[in-house]
Amino acid sequence: MAYQKPVYNLTYRMLGNAAEAEEAAQETFLRAYTHLGSYDPKRPFRSWLLSIASHYCIDRLRRRRITWLPLEDEIATVDGAAEISPRAQGEGLTPVNLASETPNPETTVVREEREALIQQLLDCLSPTDRAAITLLYWYDCSYKEIAETLDLTVSAVKSRLHRARRALAERIEGETSYAL
């Protein structure tokens, strides 16, 4: 199962905690296995899997609005230097906390704080906007790919991304020490 990491990362970014993300990733693979007959080979397999995961998480987040869930959950572990997101690689970013494979406690704390901040930011978005932002930043998907994955039009994706970024940018004010 070479797709464990992309699927789990998506479910984690969408749901915000490790326990739910793991359950959602498991469910994604089970659904993919069950509906393997409906997979169109012309479509990239990863995109199909991410679509299943996205829709599952969106449904779950919508249900969560009427179901009480614990707020305190463990922060998932994060990989080392080899797993910078595609956009970061494109921009030549080498964050200080990813520079070493054996991070010291200080960098671990910075990393965990950054992860917590990112999840806080993502939590303020609607489920579909959260999926769009996640697919853009962690999977380097084009607008068209995001639209296909989430069953939206390209113009809807553009508008959602713009709206989501503005909402996140407003919230990030005061937290720029992480970002700069």
């Binding site: 199962m1 464990q4 990491k5 992309p6 699927v7 789990y8 990362n9 984690y12 970014r13 490790a18 993300a21 793991e22 990733a25 498991q26 693979f29 089970l30 296995y33 998932a76 572990t77 994060v78 990989d79 080392g80 797993e83 910078i84 997101s85 956009r87 970061a88 494109g90 921009e91 970013l93 964050p95 990813l98 950054r114 992860e115 901040l117 990112i118 930011l121 932002i133 853009l136 930043y137 962690w138 607008y143 553009k158 991304l161 713009h162 970024r165 503005r166 996140l168 940018a169 407003e170 990030i172 004010e173 720029t176 992480y178 970002a179 700069l180």
Partner: protein, 180 residues
């Protein structure tokens, strides 16, 4: 250019979806609009934060858990299918075995002709017949309690053995088809 349009273009610029002319237009607007400059800096800070975050690694048990759930689900389906098939087969066999006896009894007691021809005496005859069958069953149970219990246990053991053979055959067939 209006600020709203500039905002949409900022988002597109972050995604490298602006041509040179559009970038020049946006830069002109930014040079003369303090509010948009602030928004642009916020958006860039957000972009750097999200782009620097790595993919989250799944727990090592994810693959094992998925395979275990698939296995359990397949077992449950096979058991349900096998059990249903056996139950239906048993009912069919018992029905076939009892049909001649029941038909004989119905004819002998005159219930069958009464049911066919109809009439007010039919219900009384049917009740009488049911009572007779009940009494006969009680006598049979008292007389042949031990053999009947033995027969039931044998049937149960046979059903279990057949079920196990069935599951084994399905599993071997499944393993041969899918080398997952």
């Amino acid at each position: 250019m209006r600020c709203e349009q500039a905002g949409e273009m900022m988002s597109a610029w972050l995604d490298d979806r602006l041509d040179r002319t559009e970038i020049a237009l946006l830069e002109d607007h930014l040079a003369g609009c303090r509010a948009c400059q602030v928004e642009w800096e916020r958006l860039r800070a957000l972009d750097r934060l999200l782009a620097s975050a790595p993919m989250v690694s799944p727990p090592v048990r994810l693959r094992v858990e998925v395979m275990a759930r698939l296995h359990r689900r397949d077992q449950a389906r096979r058991a349900l299918f096998g059990g249903t098939t056996l139950a239906l087969g048993t009912v069919a066999l018992v029905s076939l075995a009892l049909a001649p006896i029941l038909l004989g009894l119905l004819n002998a007691t005159g219930v069958a002709p009464a049911l066919i021809s109809g009439g007010p005496a039919t219900i009384a005859q049917l009740l009488s017949f049911t009572g007779a069958i009940g009494r006969a069953l009680l006598v049979l149970a008292e007389t042949f309690a031990v053999p009947l219990a033995f027969l039931s246990l044998c049937s149960l053991a046979l059903a279990l053995a057949l079920n196990r053979l069935w599951l084994g055959a399905v599993r071997r067939l499944h393993t041969a088809r899918h080398t997952f």
